[in-house]
Symmetry: C2
Subunit: 168 residues, 2 copies
DNA sequence: TAAAACTTTCAATAACTATTGAAAGTATAG
DNA sequence: CTATACTTTCAATAGTTATTGAAAGTTTTA
């Protein structure tokens, strides 16, 4: 397979994967493009490579910075901004986990804690089923939270050796 | 807080969470409703509780069955179908992991394996950056796949005791 | 077999999300 | 200071995905 074909396939695949994770297609594609690019790219470069408008490119580059997946890079003697992606995939994965934990797991935990206080007659089936579901979900979420935290604190070496050894 | 208010908040929250995981809102809401329901519910019940049309209720109930998150239940002397959700949250989590692995990770692995064969001049920066990104991503994906597999094979006891102990 | 009770389908449409591109904003260079 | 090179915003619009509801399909009952 030739490089151009491979690039296109990868950008396409990464975009599709993004969609099923609630990440907009263009954002995932910009990320893919930067992941495989040896040089930092300008907004203009992104617009050209992906055939998107200036506004779209700009908005998704900013969103990626917001997620901590890419960063601005200034080239001496250049006025425009260039962008590079973090290339270490384990760091990328950790960053995504960190952000989603903050954006989704933490708010959900707060809601579940609130919902544990639903009151109702002691023998009421409805209330009991509700309370039990919430309690179980809360426990699982807490465990997931702790596990993720530990993973995030671990360095790559730990993940690759100890954890993987345990996992076979 | 009263039961009705709690139910609504939970259904709403679960729906929102679903959206950010690429799951359609109604599907997540139907799931939430069944999770907290002590009895099996009919299509009609779902339509009423969530204010959605028959077609919508039917389609999302089928999708949930497809995901293995709910099942049909037949009541003696009743002609309609009723639906119950799996209530054990660890089983639910495992099932979601299993399905997403099948639907997303496996196809991605296949694409990455294909993309590792991109050819190019040996000193070409573009090709080298591409190959390296693909190789790293492939390695990480393989590791994730193995880890998930091991988790899925493990029973709850293992997860809750050994693994959680390790994780503190 | 026919009517009733229920489920499924699907074309039309509504609702939502992403994208464009021109205009406004900002920073740098001369 | 002001012209230029760039970035950001945002209202309009395109594109996508979800929802409706009536019609078709299926199974059960009598």
């Amino acid at each position: 397979m030739q490089l151009e074909e491979g690039k296109e396939k990868f950008i396409q695949a990464w975009g599709t994967l993004g969609s099923s994770w609630g990440i907009n297609r263009t954002m995932a594609q910009v990320h893919a493009l930067l992941l495989i690019s040896p040089e930092a790219l300008s907004t203009e470069d992104v617009m050209q490579e992906l055939n998107v408008s200036r506004g779209n490119a700009n908005m998704n580059l900013r969103a990626l910075i917001d997620w901590g997946l890419i960063s601005k890079e200034l080239k001496p003697g250049e006025r425009r901004e260039f962008f590079v992606a973090e290339k270490d995939m384990w760091k990328v994965a950790k960053q995504v986990i960190r952000e989603r934990r903050k954006r989704e797991l933490e708010p959900m935990l707060r809601i579940l804690e609130e919902l544990r206080q639903v009151e109702g007659a002691k023998g009421d089936k409805e209330t009991e089923a509700f309370t039990e579901a919430i309690t179980n979900l809360h426990e699982l979420s807490l465990k997931a939270d702790k596990t993720l935290n530990t993973m995030l604190r671990a360095d790559e070496h730990w993940f690759l050796s100890s954890f993987m050894k345990l996992m076979r």
